[in-house]
């Protein structure tokens, strides 16, 4: 049990350390290498992983665009800076090399990064150089993935483990009790006379002991009560579970792996779920979003081919909805992600470790309300909440919870 505990604690730690967002994407490997000439490789890595890694590898490997190993020897800094700031402008201006590379990569437009300064570009180039100079370079951050596999411990499993452990303990206690009972029996037998009992074998003795226990009225009543209580609890649990689909993990038409995309590739959730900071629905990505990368990456994979078929046949992909709120409840993603500043994991669990997405939270009203009671309002630097904060601090010293500003009122979710 202690080991189990240890394991889940470890998993929890992993959950905390790995995050979706780019801001947290840097890991310990970056700090180990010394900065290369001209630019800050650590900063470069951060920029690279946040902006470039979706399409470019720092090695020779081709993802969407060309691998960047040795890019400095191919083009000078001025050209690269100009290109990164405005690639399509370069193509339009008729730059020969720019047009060549544009045509070579199926006229895929590169995103422009007009805000990158000289220092930023230098930093990225320094990082690229550093990666290629390292003895065993890999494009993705390898340090995090192995841990992720061991951390596949959801809260549901954790409860099961505890239950099993409890059962084992109960068994042990029962055996111990039986032992004590036998000992006591032996003692009483001794006082009454050794001859009557000494004739019986150990088996017989156990049997008669067991019979005695069963015949005991108190024990029988206790067992009946335990049974009734357990049955009642099971019934209630069953009833409460109606419509609760925690752990629901339907098979999807395309075996899309969040573990790969969100976990290993660290693609920001909002890249595909475009509405998550804007509106009510986070949105299921349309096929054209998949095609941003998959028109060059892994085109031949049978799963990716399903997207191609869908586009060819003009039939949208029918995903199976995992999180189903009843129509009577209104939920808005933007309120929670954008305004509340909550992480996706808060409700969706470790999506970045799920091969098949499953519903991690119960999505019951109790679950919603519970969170509204505990969660502090993210009102800092948001002028909307100033008035409320003021009013709250006037009457209470504690932090302002969602509950305190009407977060438990019916018409926040039901209308």
């Amino acid at each position: 049990m202690i080991r189990n505990f240890y394991k889940s604690l470890l998993a929890l730690a992993v959950v905390v350390t790995i995050s979706f967002s780019n801001a947290f994407a840097q890991d310990s490997t970056a700090t180990t290498a010394a900065p290369a000439g001209g630019g800050d490789a650590a900063k470069g890595e951060q920029l690279f992983k946040g902006n470039c890694a979706q399409c470019h590898a720092a090695t020779n490997e081709q993802i969407v665009g060309p691998g960047l190993a040795g890019v400095e020897s191919r083009r000078d800094f001025a050209w690269l800076k100009k290109w990164i700031n405005n690639p399509m402008g370069m193509v339009a201006s008729g730059d020969k090399y720019a047009n060549e590379i544009f045509n070579k990569f199926n006229k895929t437009q590169m995103t422009a990064f007009p805000n990158f300064t000289d220092d930023d570009v230098k930093a990225i180039l320094a990082y690229v150089t550093q990666v290629n100079a390292a003895p065993a370079p890999t494009a993705s951050a390898p340090g995090t993935t192995p841990v992720a596999q061991s951390g596949d411990t959801g809260s549901g499993k954790f409860v099961n483990v505890i239950l099993i452990a409890l059962l084992v303990i109960m068994g042990l206690v029962l055996v111990a009790l039986l032992g004590i009972l036998q000992l006591l029996n032996k003692l009483t037998d001794k006082t009454e006379g050794a001859e009557t009992t000494s004739g019986k074998s150990v088996g017989e003795k156990l049997q008669s002991g067991f019979k005695d226990i069963v015949a005991n009225r108190t024990v029988r009543i206790a067992i009946t009560w335990v049974f009734i209580l357990l049955a009642t609890k099971a019934t209630f649990d069953g009833l409460y579970g109606i419509g609760v689909h925690q752990g629901y993990a339907p098979k999807q038409p395309i075996s899309f792996s969040h573990k790969l995309h969100a976990g290993e590739m660290k693609i920001n959730c909002a890249y595909c779920h475009t509405g998550v900071y804007k509106g009510k629905q986070s949105g299921i990505p349309s096929a054209n979003i998949c095609m941003n990368c998959h028109n060059t990456i892994k085109r031949e994979s049978p799963e990716i081919q399903k997207i191609y078929t869908a586009i060819k046949e003009d039939k949208p992909i029918e995903w199976v909805r995992v999180h189903n709120l009843p129509d009577l409840a209104y939920f808005n993603h933007a309120q929670h992600t954008n305004v509340g500043g909550l992480d996706c994991k808060n409700c969706h669990g470790d999506i970045d470790k799920m091969e098949v997405v499953q519903q991690r939270s119960t999505l019951t009203m109790g679950w919603c309300v519970d969170c509204h009671r505990k969660t502090e309002v993210n009102g800092k630097d948001n002028a909307y909440y100033d008035k409320l904060m003021e009013a709250h601090s006037a009457v209470s010293k504690g932090s302002m919870k969602v509950e305190d500003i009407g977060g438990l009122e019916c018409a926040r979710c039901h209308y």
Binding site: A287, N288, Y384, G406
Partner: protein, 1016 residues
């Protein structure tokens, strides 16, 4: 109201204390009188119970697999869950509105006014609101038709072009077309087929006005009117706030002359004076200061008399005319003459002679160049009755070989029946109707045109005022725009979008970019043009002679256009059918409106059906006793009696064939009672206020000028410590509002009862249609009840003596009318909240009374305890139920539902939520931008749609908001809460109605203590 001497009543039955009314007054719903639902038997009950249990256990076993289907190629600007707004134009038979269309996931779900238009200023009528539902009418044609069976577009084009090419006269028949580009298409078509001619007519024609203007000023146009500049305005059978020409435009102007402010510094206490002479009660008459009843045959005489009286004062040449005695006529003439230069007289008559005299009168009053502008005419009505008559004669004479219909004249023209019979003689007949209407059914081909929300187009409602129409959804069925069809038949490409864009190059002329114009929806280079005068040059003597020859006899019939159905083009729209007529409160049919006196003379009464015969033509309709109806007249609404409109629209009877003179009235009407015992689906006495009287508070301007609190009833309750205001003694703890306090101020002086808010609310909040039978049971679901109160000047005290009763009877012939939109008042001390056994209705910290449908168990205690009777109970499941076969019973119709609002199921109470979904969304937008919400960015559906801005919504805790400012001024003025004495502290405030009428109401000498229930 207590300190006035008026008695208010919602319907004749209340005034008469009708047995049915008395019986039902104590009830929320009249339950037992109409028995169409079969009683449930024990066995049925057991069966249902068994099946129900089985269904529940089955449903509980496994949740259905729900799909999430994303776009294949998501448009960049479309984000599921976030609404997109597009500017467009509503232009239906000359009715015009510049609109914004709200779309969700690519489907239009709501229409709102475009405030960028300086013409309509964001005003949208009930019919425009409802037009979004007409888009999702599943009875529309799904493909082109030939003789009732389907045909491909290619074949149709081939056959029609072959027919057109045979030569002979070609006629294109339409209602008013506002689109300059469509007219260009027709011109192109005529160039290709020189024998073609375009005939324009209007179902409710103002051809007489156009003709008179042509004769008087040499300009065959409808001028633009500016009621906002008029100090004295007179309407003669012209319902300019409801249906005449451009009611939303006029209502906004009218309202500005009626707006008051009780501010101590710089308050406004001047109002225009409004006289109305009319036959039936319209909302314009109801909102006027002096209303007089005339027979339709007297229109001319009234105009002539008014002219002569004004001419006597201002020095014009008098003309001969019949002598006439009409109430208020002298007063009206005197005030008109006094207000020279700021006066306006309009007549709804279609008689050029009458309109010529009106022109002369306006000319005398100096209206041209001030309140009337002939230099910038409007295009709202262009119909020419003579052309249309000639066309029908041609068809009857077999002189027309091809005809193309853009409208439905077989139904909506006076001679429609003749035309329908003769259509067989036309070799090639095509209709662009969206469904097989009365005309299309008689045509050889139907080339269905899409709804305007699926179409490209433009409009020029007024000279120099342009607006664009753009599709907000891709074509639902295999339809094609009429413009495209005509272009193809004329040998063009049929790409109307490209045609429109190139045509707009000359309109925009560098003033705005195409994209900008499309974004704004409007382009108004003519907005800065000043009004121009005109000198009258018509022949008054001829007009006088013509008027003298108008003779009416016996009972006269007036055919009028009502607000909801109009001319019947949208008759198949259940929202409009169920919208109560603002005056009569009748739904789902038209009636024979008659005064009590005439009805008694004829021997009919409400609840009867009567046969109405004019010149051998007969219709049969239920009788409605209408206070304010001129004696010896009956009024019947046009737009009903469709036979091919669809399952919701084929109700009532068509009155047009009975008024065959083209003047929309007839004399020598015979009335014959056919059956009795009929219950009209009339909402007027539903949910009555139980005799509580401080509901309407009103006064007259002369009193208001002296005391801004005139007409206010300020209740005081007697306690052991003397009289106290109700708010000072309370059992309640109240609710603290720290953040927002949402509320509304409703100005009774500006509400003219148009019902736009009601339909807007219905569209926004997924309010179901319940049908005629259920409305008759008082089970309508509208969240806004547009209360219409009649009032008699009968003295309050004498009201209970024989003399008082007699006085009441006289007053009720032409009562004063007040409109009061009544929705949930969101009481801070809400009586409904305390009685709910399951806490399904609770209070929010922002002042909202919240209704939680999923918690409601349907005890209806709340509805019972609501002093305002604004809670509605879902007696049935109104969606996916064949007994309520309206839009919620088919997939297409359900597309209009607002995805942010729950569709309520059977057995729960619902009511106005103050559009909490909009409040929440507005707050979220503000939070996302890290700021406080700005006043005006959050609007409820009703406040947004009000053409006169009578409803102001906002945050009462925001000192900068309009509502806070209004309340600050009016708190010690016109602001009052309905039923203040019960101290429920509503969030809704009303402002007293002030009439610009002389004669102060008697103030009661009685002390003002009041205990509710003391008066019965």
């Amino acid at each position: 109201m207590e300190n006035t001497n008026k008695r208010y009543w919602k319907g004749v039955e209340e005034l008469k204390n009708d047995i049915e009314f008395v019986k039902n007054a104590n009830r929320e719903f009249n339950l037992d009188d109409i028995d169409t639902v079969e009683p449930t038997h024990r066995r049925d009950f057991l069966k249902v119970l068994g099946f129900g249990l089985a269904a529940v256990s089955l449903a509980a076993c496994d949740a259905p697999v729900r799909k999430a289907i994303p776009y294949l190629n998501k448009p960049e600007d479309v984000e599921p869950g976030i609404a997109n707004w597009y500017a467009s134009t509503y232009a239906e038979g000359g009715d015009y509105s510049s609109i914004l269309v709200k779309t969700r996931e690519g489907r239009p779900i709501k229409i709102e006014g475009n405030k960028m238009s300086s013409l309509t200023k964001g005003g949208v009528s009930a019919r425009v609101h409802a037009s979004v539902l007409s888009l999702y009418d599943n009875e529309k044609l799904k493909e082109p038709q030939k003789g009732g069976s389907k045909i491909s577009w290619a074949d149709l084009d081939k056959e029609v072009v072959a027919g057109l090419s045979k030569g002979g006269n070609i006629r294109i028949v339409s209602n008013t077309i506002l689109s300059p580009t469509f007219k260009k298409v027709i011109a192109d078509f005529i160039t290709k087929y020189p024998t073609a001619k375009h005939i324009t007519y209007d179902a409710n024609s103002v051809s007489g006005l156009i003709q008179a203007n042509s004769e008087s000023f040499g300009q065959a146009v409808v001028p633009s009117y500016d009621f906002g500049k008029a100090k004295v305005m007179v309407g003669i059978n012209a319902d300019f706030l409801g249906t005449w020409i451009a009611p939303d435009v006029f209502a906004a102007q009218w309202a500005e002359t009626r707006r008051l402010s009780s501010s101590k510094s710089g308050g406004k206490n001047e109002m225009s004076r409004h006289f109305q002479f009319e036959t039936g009660m319209t909302i314009t008459g109801a909102s006027s200061d002096y209303r007089s009843m005339i027979k339709p045959s007297q229109e001319g005489a009234v105009v002539v008399a008014l002219y002569n009286k004004v001419a006597a004062a201002l020095g014009g040449t008098p003309i001969s005319g019949p002598a006439i005695e009409i109430q208020n006529l002298d007063k009206c003439a005197k005030e008109l003459a006094a207000a020279k230069g700021a006066a306006l007289v309009v007549s709804g008559s279609n008689n050029p002679a009458i309109q010529t005299v009106v022109n002369a009168l306006n000319s005398l009053l100096g209206s041209y160049g001030t309140t009337i502008d002939l230099g910038n005419p409007v295009n709202f009505r262009q119909g020419n009755d003579a052309d249309m008559n000639a066309f029908i004669n041609e068809v009857k004479g077999g002189q027309v070989s091809s005809v193309i219909f853009l409208s439905n004249p077989v139904y909506d023209h006076i001679r429609g029946a003749e035309l329908g019979e003769a259509l067989g003689r036309v070799a090639t007949s095509v209709s662009f109707a969206a469904n097989a209407d009365e005309t299309a059914a008689k045509c050889k081909y139907i080339a269905p045109a899409p709804h305007y929300l699926e179409s490209w187009g433009d409009a020029e409602p007024k000279k120099g005022f342009y607006s664009l129409m753009q599709p907000t959804i891709s074509l639902i069925y295999n339809t094609r725009q009429a413009e495209s069809s005509l272009l193809i038949w004329a040998g063009g490409s049929g790409d109307y979008q490209a045609y429109l864009k190139s045509s707009w190059k000359s309109i925009l002329n560098g003033g705005k970019s195409w994209v900008q114009a499309l974004h704004d929806g409007v382009y108004e280079p003519g907005a800065s043009v000043v009004a121009s005068g005109a000198s009258f040059a018509g022949n008054l003597a001829n007009a006088a002679t013509a008027i003298a020859s108008i003779k009416g006899s016996g009972i006269e019939l007036s055919a009028f256009e009502n607000i909801s159905i109009g001319t019947g083009t949208q008759a198949n729209n259940p929202w409009l059918q169920e919208m109560p007529d603002p005056i009569s409160k009748v739904t789902w049919e038209n009636t024979i409106a008659i005064s009590q006196k005439t009805a008694t003379e004829v021997g009919i009464d409400q609840g009867d059906w009567a046969k109405l015969t004019v010149g051998g033509k007969t219709i049969e309709l239920p009788v409605l006793i209408q206070p304010g109806q001129a004696h010896n007249t009956v009024s019947v609404a046009i737009g009903y009696g469709r036979t091919a409109a669809g399952k919701a629209g084929n109700v009532g009877a068509n009155v047009l064939p009975l008024v065959s003179n083209g003047q929309y009235w007839a004399s020598d009407v015979k009335l014959e009672k056919t059956k009795s015992g009929y219950t009209l689906a009339q909402t007027q006495t539903h949910n009555t206020v139980m005799g509580r009287e401080a509901v309407i508070q009103e006064s007259v301007l002369s009193e208001y000028v002296k005391n801004v609190k005139a007409g206010r009833f300020e209740p005081k309750l007697q306690t052991s410590e003397g009289f106290k205001k109700p708010g000072q003694i309370t059992l309640w703890n109240g609710h603290e509002k720290k953040n927002h306090s949402w509320g509304m101020v409703i100005d009774l002086n500006l509400c003219h009862g148009c019902g736009s808010c009601l339909v807007s609310c219905q569209a926004e909040n997924n309010i179901p249609v319940v049908g005629k039978a259920e409305v008759a049971r008082a089970r309508e679901m509208h969240w806004i009840r547009l209360d219409r109160y009649y009032s008699s000047d009968a003295p309050h005290e004498e009201g209970y003596s024989p003399a008082g009763f007699r006085a009441m009877e006289i007053a009720s012939e032409n009562p004063d009318v007040v409109f009061q939109p009544m929705m949930c008042q969101h009481c801070s001390n809400a009586p409904c909240e305390t009685v709910c056994p399951v806490l399904a209705t609770t209070h929010s910290s922002e002042g909202l009374n919240q209704m939680t449908y999923n918690r409601c168990i349907g005890t209806r205690y709340c509805a019972n305890n609501c002093p305002y009777k604004v809670r509605r109970f879902n007696w049935f499941k109104y969606f996916e139920n064949d007994n309520f076969d309206y839009n919620m019973n088919n997939d297409l119709g359900r597309m209009v539902l607002n995805p942010d609002v729950t569709v309520r199921s059977r057995g729960v109470i619902e009511k106005c939520s103050m559009c909490v979904q909009r409040i929440q969304l507005g707050k979220l937008e503000a939070k996302k931008q890290k700021r406080r919400p700005v006043d005006g960015e959050i609007q409820t559906a009703c406040s947004q749609s009000c053409p006169t801005n009578a409803i102001v919504f906002g945050d009462m805790l925001d000192p900068e908001s309009q509502i806070s400012k209004t309340l600050a001024v009016e708190k010690e003025g016109r602001a009052f809460h309905v039923l203040e004495e019960i101290n429920v502290q509503p969030q809704m405030t009303y402002l007293t109605k002030i009439r610009n009428k002389e004669g102060a109401p008697k103030t009661e000498t009685k002390p003002s203590e009041h205990a509710s229930g003391a008066h019965s």
